[in-house]
Subunit: 456 residues, 2 copies
């Protein structure tokens, strides 16, 4: 069985912690039993592993999220990156092509697609196990998870089951585990949703199971290539359409396996803070007169809060949010243009934080970053056309290359990289340096990259 | 007439903006008519000048405030710095000694002592003018300002006038302008304060007028020296006692000149925000659902607030405060130890901000600052025994000295200053550099200073 996690989105509903480089599923805000923190995607992958569903987990994501996934999950998962954002059908088609063409999976391999960030529990993964059994028993072309609705919501898709199961599926799948699906409806009005609830409808949780061959037959309507890299190169030929429309609604037979355990989208500060075990994360102190208030501080500057009720405070290099939880659902538009660029990013080699981004009266611009490379990691051999950089090493040891000459560097050393000079750095131990950029423009895009062959 | 402003305090009641290096009177939070901002001390000096009281204004302060006063007031005021904090009598005795011994003022010169940070209006300075007239008319040895009480407060000293003026003062001072004082009382209970109010008592606003010779006679009880520098060097010989106890309560005749205009101590966020013209100062956006909320942001990180009522948000390199105005009166103890060192300081040559202060797993410590020198200013020729520094210039031009060799530097240049090397920098234009310190310990006190003779 192959588990594919869809990692999408770049929203700012969890601003300032989420930005274009760090979607909500990567925020390290959930506490594990041992007290350490993990992100939503780390939690889901950990839960999937604990459920013993499969060793084969693939993340299907946009190329812009590749670095942060590698940083958070290492090489424990396969990665399929879409070259551009399209919709869920192209993303799943690309993942299926990867499993078929790159991983050489058989046509009868069962594939389960799920979102990478539901806040849920062990029963969710047990339900996925039941879905796999249904596919193996051929109860339907497509099997999906039906979330037991808790209210008549307008914001979910609904799955309406038939009254009687008419499937001819074998005895392998317990009939009580699934129902055949009559139809789907996207985001109904509250009134319509109420009638659905009376008919025993479920929310569509975006979890689908099918045999790989079934999906590949649909993929081949748009793309006939024998090599995954060809499929990926021609990704723009896939139509911009959702999996629900292109596959689920057209399927001849669809079954739904119900799940009625804990299932939440921690997509706003209001819902997310409900699941935080501690009122304070990071360098912050809460006074005695706070009620239902949460503080998350990723800055060095200490935070003191007091006398607040139902408020969330979130601070990081991108900005500082202080908002009533009630109004925290609506911040997205207000904060859209507050931060000109991500001020914190996780990359495959480590992380950087912008410490200072200043424009001066004389028209000059400077950008100061703290950059940390994990042991053994390196940044690519690169050149900038519009900026010089000064690196002062403050932790660890590494190998620095400038114009083809390697030299060892360690905390206390400073190197200067003039405009138009090739350079790279590799961390022998965890390595931190302060980078001061000067030039114009100072943008991440001013970079050309190649690879350096390290002597050690 | 000589006006002496007492500048004391180092409290944290306006944390994070106030710290040990920046007392509340130096916070640039008050808006002038032209829209620019000024601090409380800048406002008081400007008001005193507008009132045409005198050209001779002296700030009596602690040595630790010397740099920030020079930065905010330039050389437009005289400065008397006490070498250590004692109490108000020694501070005023030192200022009087300065006027007598250094400025050579005559014994009959009228001296007015006042705090440097009342939030008040033109009538306050007109009242000071009346006090001067009273001293000139010899109505009493000591004349003080009586603030018309607005309620029976426990936190002020009270001045209780006699029923009839018994002074033999000449006609120069209009009798209606002053009352003779019967007695003083410090911070009474509310019940006692209420009886005072019925007796027509005033709050003691800490504004005193006297002839210089009168004060010098008291000073000479403790200190007989003919040179101001000797007096200053022997400052610790003055008793730690308040001016009220040592002078006011012992005076043979004291008069009070009433003032009943606007007079406030903007000493807490609650009182200070009442006087802010705008709800937002700095890089912040307020959503539509805020009420009686103020945001002051001295950080680069943008702040977004919404859904708050009666809250103050204040952010700067030292920390971030989010507090109901009600509880903002009590923050002092809670924040006492939140910030290990000032993260922002104004010095006589300009300002610095700490951008990063990190301790690493390998035991190393690094400190990164953005430092800006005003045009023409320089820092002293100095040496550090425990740290190296890398300076990357990002704005302007200057002259850098290392071990006796001057060189011109400009934005884009980097210089490295190893441990135990003498260095200085002078700004030819406004000059900014990013300083990365590495070493152990990284403390401001690791410095030896001398002066460099600049070639230009």
């Amino acid at each position: 069985m192959q588990l594919v996690l869809l990692s999408g989105g770049s929203g700012k509903r969890l601003w300032p912690l989420s930005n274009n480089a760090r979607s909500k599923q990567f925020l390290p805000l959930l506490e594990k039993e041992d007290g350490t923190m993990e992100s939503m995607v780390q939690r889901v992958v950990r839960q999937a592993r604990l459920a013993n569903l499969t060793e084969d987990i693939t993340l299907a994501t946009n190329a812009s999220q590749q670095d942060i996934i590698v940083n958070q999950l290492g090489d424990s998962v396969n990665l399929v990156t879409e070259p551009e954002r399209r919709d869920t059908f192209p993303a799943i088609a690309l993942a299926a092509s990867y499993l078929k063409l790159a991983k050489q999976c058989a046509d009868d391999e069962v594939v389960v697609i799920m979102p990478c960030d539901p806040y849920t529990e062990v029963g969710y993964f047990e339900t996925i196990g039941k879905m796999v059994e249904c596919v193996k028993a051929d109860v339907a072309d497509l099997v999906l998870m039906g979330i037991a609705p808790t209210y008549a919501s307008e914001k979910y898709g609904y799955v309406i089951p038939m009254h009687e199961n008419t499937s001819t599926g074998s005895a392998q799948a317990d009939n009580e585990n699934y129902k055949m699906v009559s139809r789907f409806t996207e985001k109904p009005s509250v009134e319509v949703a109420e009638t659905f609830l009376k008919q025993g409808a479920y929310w569509n949780g975006g979890v689908f199971a099918f045999r790989l061959g079934y999906m590949m037959n649909i993929v081949r309507k748009y793309m006939s290539s024998d090599r995954f890299e060809d499929t990926r190169a021609r990704y723009s030929e896939f139509p911009k359409i959702s999996f629900d429309y292109e596959v689920a609604e057209k399927a001849e037979s669809v079954a739904v396996v119900p799940f009625n355990g804990e299932w939440k989208d921690l997509g706003t500060w209001n819902t997310l803070t409900d699941e935080l075990h501690k009122p304070v994360i990071g360098n912050a102190v809460m006074g005695a007169h706070c009620e239902n208030t949460h503080v998350i501080n990723e800055l060095q500057n200490p935070i003191f809060v007091d006398g607040l009720k139902d408020v969330v405070v979130a601070a990081c290099p991108d900005g500082i949010l202080v908002c009533s939880k009630e109004h925290s659902e609506e911040i997205k538009k207000s904060v859209e243009n507050l931060t000109p660029r991500p001020m914190y990013e996780e990359r495959r080699w480590g992380t950087y934080r912008v410490l200072d981004d200043s424009y001066y009266a004389d028209g000059r611009h400077s950008l100061t970053k703290s950059i940390t490379l994990k042991e053994g990691k390196n940044i690519s051999y690169q050149i900038h056309h519009h900026r010089s950089e000064t690196w002062t090493f403050v932790q660890g040891e590494g190998i620095f290359v400038l114009d083809g000459r390697e030299q060892k560097v360690k905390a206390g050393d400073t190197v200067v990289i003039p405009v138009e000079h090739w350079h790279a750095i590799k961390a022998l131990t965890e390595l931190t340096f302060i980078e001061v950029q000067s030039g114009n423009p100072l943008i991440e895009e001013d970079i050309e990259r190649t690879e350096w062959t390290w002597s050690e």
